[in-house]
């Protein structure tokens, strides 16, 4: 394990940043560290974390997925429409929508890996197309409220623990297994480091690329359904915030935005940092405009601290000392 930490100093840094941020926030807003508040912070972070799971895979592989907002939003709205507030349809609606999310990911992945469309263009296009489809489908009318079962998954508790935190934990274990213990992880890091070298080494580069986008479609769709449970209903634009936060969480977690490095364990810390920030800023009594400015600036700062640039700078500084 110490080997893992040595190789992933940036992840350690992300967790250290999280702790510092927690303490700072507690100074400005006493009671922030209370059990109930920590619980709601973790719940909010879980949504970011789940969307960012797929985003982590995509970014490590050297791509980026800009289609998360509307994959998430589509899953939320279609689920609400198909279930009509009832639990029973979830039995088929949930698998269907997860498959739908995976299918969008498949389209993204095939476009990028087989047809050579740049990831930004490919995923931006699917995002806009989905947005259009949903607008046509709903005509802008409100959807029925979320089924009770999905509400339980996102706000319910099991012996004191938020259910969604347990789901997040399970997903974290699964992602860690894939990245650290499976051939897929090795292939993924190689692909993101150099697609040419990976190809020359016999790595199934196309299949690996496609898989990352499929996972991203899956997690975005899953998060969309859970988020509907959290807000009680689905609405247009509910996924918009997750484009920025999912990418920022990955970057804060120490991954290079150019691919080849990072880990989901870092993204988990990134999601926590982002969520704690949104808790800290209101405590500073700023106007909502000023709030956004500070939010953006702080994220920029955190990402640059966590980024490879900083690691390189740190390395240079140490060499000078030595």
């Amino acid at each position: 394990m110490s080997g893992f930490l040595a190789r992933n100093r940036l992840i350690v840094l992300a967790y250290a940043g999280m702790v510092v941020l927690l303490l700072v926030t507690a100074m400005f807003s006493p009671g922030f560290l209370s059990v109930s508040n920590m619980r709601s912070t973790v719940v909010l972070a879980a949504f970011v974390g789940i969307v960012a799971l797929g985003q982590t895979f995509v970014i490590i592989g050297g791509g980026i997925d800009l289609s998360v907002p509307w994959v998430l939003n589509s899953a939320a709205i279609v689920m609400a429409l198909l279930c009509g507030g009832q639990d029973l349809p979830l039995v088929w609606v949930m698998p269907l929508l997860l498959a739908g999310g995976a299918f969008i990911g498949l389209i993204n992945g095939v476009g990028v890996a087989q047809f050579g469309v740049p990831p930004i263009i490919m995923t931006l296009a699917t995002n806009v197309i989905l947005q259009g489809l949903i607008l046509v489908l709903t005509g802008g009318s409100p959807t029925p409220s979320a089924p009770a079962l999905i509400q339980f998954l996102s706000v319910g508790r099991l012996s004191g623990f938020p259910v969604i935190a347990l789901i997040w934990l399970a997903l974290t274990l699964a992602a860690t297994l894939l990245l650290s213990k499976a051939a897929f992880g090795r292939h993924l890091y190689a692909l993101g480091t150099s697609a040419t070298v990976a190809e020359f080494s016999g790595v199934p580069t196309a299949r690996t690329t496609i898989l990352t986008y499929v996972v991203s479609g899956l997690t975005a769709a899953f998060a969309g359904m859970l988020l509907t449970g959290y807000s009680g209903q689905a609405y247009l634009g509910m996924g918009d915030a997750y484009l920025f936060t999912s990418i920022a969480a990955v970057a804060i977690g120490g991954a290079s935005i150019l691919g080849g490095s990072g880990h989901y364990l870092g993204t988990v810390a990134g999601a926590m940092v982002l969520t704690i920030l949104t808790g800290l800023l209101p405590a500073l009594n700023l106007s909502s405009g000023a709030l956004l400015i500070v939010y953006g600036a702080v994220i920029l700062l955190t990402v640059s601290i966590g980024s490879e640039t900083f690691a390189g700078l740190g390395g240079r500084l140490r060499r000078k000392e030595g």
């Binding site: 499976a182 016999g202 490095s261 060499r319």
Partner: protein
């Protein structure tokens, strides 16, 4: 008086001593070769001279005046320019824009004077008899060799009194390499000092007036070139006596055909190649550069598309991508041309690089076994004598020779018994070169079949059992036995070209 005089030069990077006691002196009007294994300190030395790196201790005098450049511009102001191995050109700019980059001739308005730039480019190219280069060609369209030539033009454009050439010939085919050797003599005749780094002894012999040998960050000797033997030089470079560079060539080929290729074609670069590579054989592929050697190797490995038939160990096979080539014992493996761009994940560890192609070999129930992986890695590191601190060291921090060993190790772990080696000794120090040749012969003796291309003709002559000479995408001739010689290879490559 000496143009350059260096005493007690030292440079440390953190705990690593790159240079400890470098001394050096050279006069204007001479070609001065700098020799040493990778990691001996040559690179650090010339980086200091060219202003890219600042030294910690010692002194440099240029023209008797203290010299301590703050950056490459300051070095150029004192008349020192360097042509480095790592190419510094910008792919999106044209040849001439690259040559005059940041030193463009200006109009009175301060904009780039294109007419003047073209005139100066053509004058420069003509003055030094450059191989054909179009000034307006976009750099990204050029081959590695052509880029190296542009790099040399860029160095000369500064009209330096001291020109440093760092393995400038290693990327060049025979004819262009010869031109460069002539160029260095011309520059010396003009009174300039050329500091020349090469791993090819024959070149050093051909042009150097004097030579300085580095080992472990210090100068071990300086000689008049005609007063020292090859053996003495090599011994001083590696600090021990190297019996011989080329291993004894024992015929180990059997009658069994490992790889048969029929009517192999790819685009306009490869048209109808037929040959058979036997078990236990080292089959050389030579010829002038750009006559289909690269395309042949890449297409056989599935990295580029080709038509035609391939049989591996008697079985018809189709290889659409490298994954289909790397299929274990009956597969076919490639040590590629571009070590850094195709062969190695520079920011990943030696371990991850070594095992990248054989993850299946240490996967149990879908999970990686770190113990099994460690055993594979250890076996390869020991077998190839890869010098890395630990298997976790990043591949990019290894010397060129050790990087190449890691790529060999990665391919050997796949257990493929047909090996394609594309210029495996390029930019590799002489000690490791010897090891690679020995390894090739050892593998052949074990029944491996090896297709071997080298841009250094003596290697083909001394290591290969047979040599195929390529010309215009075809096999122009296959040389065997006593017919294998540099003259034979060049003859086959060039006479045919004239006849065509």
């Amino acid at each position: 008086m000496d143009l350059v005089s260096v005493k007690g030069l030292s440079k440390r990077y953190g705990g690593i001593v790159a240079l400890s006691e470098a001394t050096f002196s050279a006069r204007g009007g001479e070609v001065h070769a700098l020799l040493g294994e990778n990691g001996a300190g040559k690179s650090t030395f010339i980086q200091i001279l060219s202003g890219a790196v600042r030294h910690d201790g010692g002194s440099i005098l240029v023209d008797g005046q203290d010299y301590r450049p703050a950056n490459p511009d300051a070095a150029q102001a004192r008349g020192i320019a360097a042509v480095f191995q790592e190419l510094s050109l910008i792919p999106d700019l044209s040849v001439e824009q690259n040559i005059w980059f940041r030193h463009e001739p200006r109009t009175w308005l301060g904009t780039v004077n294109r007419g003047e730039m073209r005139r100066k480019t053509l004058a420069l190219l003509e003055r030094y008899d450059f191989p054909a280069l179009r000034p307006d060609q976009e750099l990204r369209r050029l081959t590695l060799a052509e880029r190296q030539i542009v790099e040399i033009a860029k160095g000369l454009a500064k009209d330096p009194r001291i020109l440093i050439l760092d393995e400038a010939t290693s990327a060049l085919p025979a004819r262009e390499a010869e031109w460069l050797l002539k160029l260095t003599r011309q520059l010396a005749a003009e009174g300039r000092l050329v500091i020349f780094i090469s791993h090819r002894m024959a070149e050093v012999r051909a042009i150097a007036d004097r030579l300085t040998i580095f080992r472990n960050g210090a100068t071990v000797a300086a000689h008049e070139a005609n007063a020292v033997s090859d053996n003495e030089i090599v011994t001083q470079m590696i600090g021990r006596h190297l019996d011989r560079l080329y291993p004894e060539r024992v015929a180990t080929a059997t009658d069994r055909i490992a790889l048969r290729v029929k009517g192999f074609s790819s685009g306009s670069r490869l048209s109808g190649v037929d040959f058979a590579l036997r078990e236990g054989e080292v089959l050389g592929v030579g010829g002038l550069q750009g006559h289909g050697q690269r395309e042949l190797f890449q297409a056989l490995f599935g990295a580029t598309r080709a038509s035609g038939a391939i049989e591996l160990w008697g079985k018809p096979t189709s290889i659409g991508n490298p994954r289909q080539a790397l299929t274990g014992r009956d597969g076919i493996a490639l040590v590629p041309e571009d070590r850094r761009g195709q062969g190695l994940l520079l920011t990943k560890s030696v371990r991850e690089n070594l095992t990248l192609s054989v993850i299946k070999r240490f996967t149990e129930n879908g999970l990686l076994s770190r113990q099994k992986e460690a055993a594979l890695v250890k076996a390869m590191v020991d077998f190839l004598r890869i010098k890395a601190g630990t298997p976790e060291q990043l591949a990019g921090t290894l010397s060129g020779g050790n990087q190449q060993k890691v790529i060999f190790g990665k391919m050997l772990l796949t257990e493929a018994r047909v090996l394609l080696l594309y210029d495996p000794t390029r930019g590799v120090d002489v000690g490791t070169k010897g090891e690679i040749f020995q390894l090739m012969r050892d593998l052949a003796a074990k029944g491996y079949a090896i297709l071997f291309h080298s841009s250094d003709m003596p290697e083909l002559v001394h290591v290969a059992d047979r040599v195929m000479v390529m010309r215009n995408g075809r096999i122009a001739a296959t040389l065997e036995g006593a017919l294998i010689s540099e003259e034979g290879i060049l003859g086959a490559a060039m006479l045919e070209t004239r006849a065509a």
